[in-house]
């Protein structure tokens, strides 16, 4: 009886510790969000979203140029990484023999774990030295970060597609590529989009690669991608180094915008995934 009581108490204690750990994780996020919101909320206004950065030493201004630039950067990066990532995943799950797939898988996982500053300096050496900084170079660096994320996410949803569906299609005398196009991709589109959205959210906040490739930008809205594109992460970084407290507040506000974007993207991704699951199960 005594032993029974002891086990029950141990169980309760461990449950309590685990619960507290979970609460701590939530608390950390809550503290970050709240402190960023508290410090940045004051700078949020209509002008903040619609006006470009103020000229040096002048009050006011917003981050419109950085928002436009960040959107352009992640769109370009997504356009580069999405096809390569999805095709890589298709190759690994549908075509490659096991002994080829396993090493490629390892390479992709290593790529996913590569420090982003390494990617930044690589692209700097490849595309910036001898040329100039440009939005394209920045997008290319971000694409390298997104590629393994998209490939991994796509692979996971492709593996969710039951093998009986592949068999059904192949048994009709349909070629593998047509099977991929007609049966496998349609049932996994939701999951692929989810992975892409999460990768975009991740890339939108990356700073290190952009410091090398797209950090010396004009304080006006820039849409020429051969020039450095203004972007939110680098703006946060530079503003936080300025002596002007008004710019500090704007940096916090920009951080808040970035965070809100990530949050919205995650929620959208979750909704997309739920929809695609329903589609597969019926």
């Amino acid at each position: 009886m005594n032993r029974y009581r002891r086990r029950r108490i141990v169980n309760r204690v461990m449950e309590l510790i685990a619960t507290v750990a979970a609460l701590v994780a939530v608390a950390v996020l809550a503290i970050v969000v709240l402190s960023v919101a508290k410090r940045g909320a004051g700078a949020i206004s209509w002008d903040f979203f619609t006006k470009p950065q103020a000229l040096f030493g002048q009050p006011g201004g917003g981050i419109a140029n950085a928002i436009v630039g960040t959107v352009l950067l992640v769109l370009m990066a997504g356009a580069m990484a999405l096809p390569v990532g999805v095709l890589t995943a298709i190759y690994l799950t549908e075509f490659a023999a096991r002994r080829v797939a396993v090493p490629i898988q390892v390479v992709i996982d290593v790529l996913a774990g590569l420090p982003t500053i390494v990617i930044g300096i690589f692209v700097y050496a490849l595309l910036v030295i001898g040329h100039t900084q440009s939005g394209l170079a920045g997008a290319f660096a971000l694409a390298i970060i997104m590629l393994p994320l998209i490939a991994r996410a796509t692979q996971e949803v492709l593996l969710l597609v039951p093998s009986t569906l592949r068999e059904a299609s192949l048994a009709l005398g349909v070629r593998r590529w047509r099977t991929v196009l007609g049966v496998i991709l349609p049932s996994s589109v939701g999951g692929i989009l989810t992975g892409t959205v999460l990768a975009v959210a991740r890339a939108a906040g990356e700073t290190a690669p952009l410091l090398f490739t797209s950090s010396i930008f004009a304080n006006t809205v820039q849409t020429d991608v051969t020039k450095p594109l203004p972007n939110i992460p680098v703006l946060i970084f530079t503003y936080s180094e300025q002596p002007d407290p008004a710019l500090h507040e704007q940096a916090w506000a920009a951080a808040l915008v970035l965070m809100a974007f990530v949050l919205v993207a995650s929620l959208a991704a979750k909704a997309l995934l739920a929809r695609s699951r329903r589609k597969l199960v019926g």
Binding site: P162, T164, E167, A168, S169, L170, L172, G173, V183, G282
Partner: protein, 282 residues
């Protein structure tokens, strides 16, 4: 007791087969010679010799693990999709070796359709499930007519004609399986292979599938794998009994006996067949 079971079986089979016409044995569709199929080093079936005749239903029966599914999957080269699968011996399909070097397995599957144990409709509409195969394979002329014909052929038209745009996964299990049959016949194969098509269905859906097989016999050559002996007795003209040879711990499927269904169930030549059909083992 066993005697009693034998007697009822005899009567069942005799009654079921009273109307059976003599089997035309001059038109051979599959001539299987010394077929051995292995996964890795382990042969799943060994030295199978068997002829399948045109417009005849051939049943393959036997205990679990005796290689029935392996055998039927050799007939349309579905086993090619299993890594490590290997074939020795020959399968002549209308005189041509299915495994000759110049033969395209996709073309083989195009002519020799297959229905699987578990209904595996695509997560598409009922219409698209049937239309997809013909569309991809370039049979785009009068697609609506082709879909209707296939659904009628699978005895499903009346049940679904008003909801062709509905998702196929909303159908019942039996309807899904008939949809899979419709999908298979929509591309007009010569042969239909059925791998335990009714094993996951209730008795009513099963009898619908069995009736359908009698209809399909007029246009197609059918090979059905079943673990249900009554089903073989009810539908098949010819029956092949597979069993397991256990030799030094290795279990290999072998063809024990192949003959007219009535003969197999009432007067088998081999003791093992008799033991199996009378329920003494398996």
């Amino acid at each position: 007791m066993t005697e009693g079971i034998t007697m009822t079986r005899v009567i069942d089979v005799a009654q079921a087969r009273k109307d059976a016409k003599p089997i035309e044995k001059n038109d051979v569709v599959f001539d299987i010679q010394k077929l051995t199929a292995s996964y890795g080093r382990q042969p799943a079936i060994s030295d199978v010799d068997l002829k399948v005749y045109r417009n005849v239903i051939t049943a393959v029966i036997g205990p679990s693990g005796c290689g029935k599914s392996t055998f039927i999957r050799c007939l349309n080269r579905m086993n090619d999709l299993v890594p490590g699968a290997r074939i020795d011996g020959r399968i002549l399909y209308q005189g041509d070796d299915l495994y000759a070097s110049g033969v395209d397995p996709v073309e083989v599957r195009r002519r020799i359709g297959m229905v699987f144990q578990k209904a595996n409709p695509f997560p598409k509409s009922i219409y698209d499930n049937v239309a997809w195969g013909p569309r991809v394979l370039g049979m785009r002329k009068d697609l609506d007519g082709r879909v209707e014909k296939a659904l009628r052929g699978a005895a499903l038209w009346d049940e679904v004609k008003d909801r062709l745009k509905k998702n196929a996964l909303s159908l019942s299990g039996g309807q899904q399986q008939r949809l899979c049959i419709a999908r298979a016949i929509a591309v007009e194969p010569d042969v239909l292979l059925l791998d335990e098509p009714a094993s996951a269905l209730d008795p009513i859906a099963t009898s619908a599938i069995e009736e359908l097989m009698h209809e399909l016999k007029r246009d197609y050559t059918l090979v059905i794998v079943t673990h249900n002996m009554q089903q073989a007795a009810r539908v098949a003209d010819m029956t092949a009994f597979f069993s397991l040879d256990v030799d030094e711990g290795r279990r290999t499927g072998v063809l024990v006996e192949y003959d007219g269904t009535a003969k197999i169930f009432t007067n088998p030549a081999d003791k093992r067949t008799e033991d199996y059909v009378t329920g003494r083992f398996g």
